[in-house]
Subunit: 352 residues, 2 copies
């Protein structure tokens, strides 16, 4: 990188944990990411819509409500078991929109391509995007391509932004979790992160691990047909279920208590996590959602979710409590309770 200006004498007023330079962890979806948002982005762009910190922002336009979201994808490798950067880029933004209860409609795509990427690889990635967009029922309507010199990129980076329409009566937001609500997960956790790690590390159980990359708007549609009384929806990507639930606990000022024995993890994912010393709660998912709903709606929702292919493994994994606001705890198998914190930085860099 080249800085044309000299920042030596330019003091940074930010308590960014005293880091003078950006480190990988600032992009990891953990505490360092949160600090960057809280101490740098929010003060600069101060406005209530941004401060709501949902997966997408909610805009009042033309007498209705639009959801608007953006995500950049820098995953390595570009192709992995169960998907590629192409379908990930579509599904990721579709899911961010769906998590506000919106019907995703239109997507943009911004490509930053490294000189030397094969046209065949680009073609495959773009095909994957087109297939994923068709599956999700969204239209890619605008785009942009930049090329950077060899050695200044990593094959391809893709940004997608998206617009969706929020139906009347739907009010889903990260600050709406209430004591007494239950925490539902739509299926097994950790699949995406461990599929990526298996390829990177050349693990021998590589063949059995596959990313869960999928668009969840169909599942959300089914859920909203059953009841609009859903408080929070989030897709636990970077930072995993732990980061997602910590954020919700803080934003809603509630405690969240998980029952570890009920958290669904595939045996091969559990083995890989153990081998690499990782906690599945911190591993990224790309086709799962967390729903926080009133207890009385839970059974009906679970029944409906399980009929949908992306919700077949839906279970209740915990509850929202009035105690320890802002803190996520897990009841362990042997009867103890541990605090599940957010990671400082990244456990698995460049997972999406």
């Amino acid at each position: 990188m080249t800085d044309a200006l000299n920042f030596e004498g330019w003091s940074c007023p930010l308590p960014l944990r005293d880091y003078p330079n950006i480190v990988m962890g600032h992009g990891g979806g953990g505490k360092l990411s949160a600090e960057l948002v809280e101490h740098l982005f929010l003060p600069a762009f101060k406005n209530p819509t941004l401060q709501a910190l949902g997966d997408s922002s909610v805009l009042e336009v033309l007498g209705g409500r639009l959801a608007f979201s953006t995500d950049s994808f820098v995953v390595q490798p570009l192709f992995f078991p169960g998907g590629s950067i192409g379908d990930l880029a579509i599904n990721g933004t579709v899911n961010d929109l769906a998590m506000s209860g919106a019907t995703p409609l239109y997507l943009s795509a911004g490509f930053i391509i490294e000189e030397g990427l094969s046209v065949a690889a680009l073609h495959k990635i773009v095909e994957d995007m087109a297939i994923a967009a068709r599956k999700a029922g969204v239209m890619l309507v605008t785009g942009d391509t930049k090329v950077v010199e060899k050695g200044h990129g990593d094959g391809i980076y893709i940004n997608t932004s998206g617009i969706g329409l929020i139906p009347n009566g739907v009010n889903i937001a990260p600050n709406r979790a209430k004591p007494g609500d239950v925490v539902i997960v739509s299926g097994t956790i950790g699949d995406h992160g461990m599929a990526i790690m298996s390829v990177r590390e050349g693990l021998e159980f590589e063949t059995t691990l596959s990313s869960d990359s999928a668009a969840l708007n169909g599942l959300v549609e089914v859920m909203l047909e059953l009841t609009t009384d859903i408080h929070v929806l989030r897709d636990p990507t970077r930072g995993g279920v732990a980061a997602t639930l910590n954020e919700i606990a803080k934003t809603s000022q509630v405690g969240i208590s998980l029952d570890e024995r009920k958290i669904p993890v595939k045996p091969e994912v559990a083995s890989a996590c153990e081998l690499l010393g990782m906690d599945p709660l911190h591993v990224a998912n790309e086709g799962k959602l967390i729903a926080i709903v009133p207890q009385h709606s839970a059974d009906k929702l679970l029944e409906g979710m399980r009929k949908h292919p992306h919700g077949a493994g839906a279970v209740i994994i915990g509850e929202v409590v009035a105690q320890h606001p802002g803190v996520l705890v897990a009841k362990t198998g042997i009867g103890g309770t541990r605090v599940v914190d957010m990671q400082l930085g990244e456990q698995l860099p460049r997972i999406c």
Copy 2:
């Protein structure tokens, strides 16, 4: 870059001028960029909204019309005379929206930061974005940050996407140029590109060159108050006025004829272009617009534009003709006529 799959045996069906790999020119806004769009992106994402190929796409939502646009910024250096990647990222997307006649409202920002960027530099860039957003009257409502390892980026890449509202009665599109229309430019051309080049090449007249980076939505608002009878608006960024007018000529199936003597170029920009062997018509602008309007509206529009700071230098530089459809020509100072083609690839890589 890493390709996890082997594409050796995977034949690419595209006549992308027989390039097996992406080259810098595919991001230059010239013929190679156009080929990538035409032969790779359009066939994959086939839909009429994308095919309209405007600076932004026009979406019918909630009984009204939204403009939606995306742009990634990879400019080097990050700070240059007259601006930075920060204000460029805001102004670029604001302008793309304004070129459909829309009132820009909401922006997203996706950051891809290279490990090691100083927090002070990031802070300055984000401040520049915030100031530019306030000046343009738009709100940044959603964002995303990724960090890539040192050696896989170039300080910072920024994607901005934006949403605007198109007023009733406004119908501006790249296919609406008609024979008899006049071509207006809002001021001097080539300022941005030559400011960047002066820093990169260490030219001695560096101090006198400055980017024209500016948001043009205020100017467009003034124009639309005078008349909604504007056929085409475009901001001539990558590829310059030549690429923009070539695209309009092709999309509208008309000829365009420029009078070279009338094209405003600052003396210092003209000198720099001469020194580096560049044609100002191919050099990027970031605060200028091209308007194609019926002859009878031109005087009124010019008068109004000249009262606005960003339109003070507005002049008529040419006309739309029925002859040579799809072709841009320029009448030279000595009475001849030359064809002004689009460049194949980039003249000035990573200018925005």
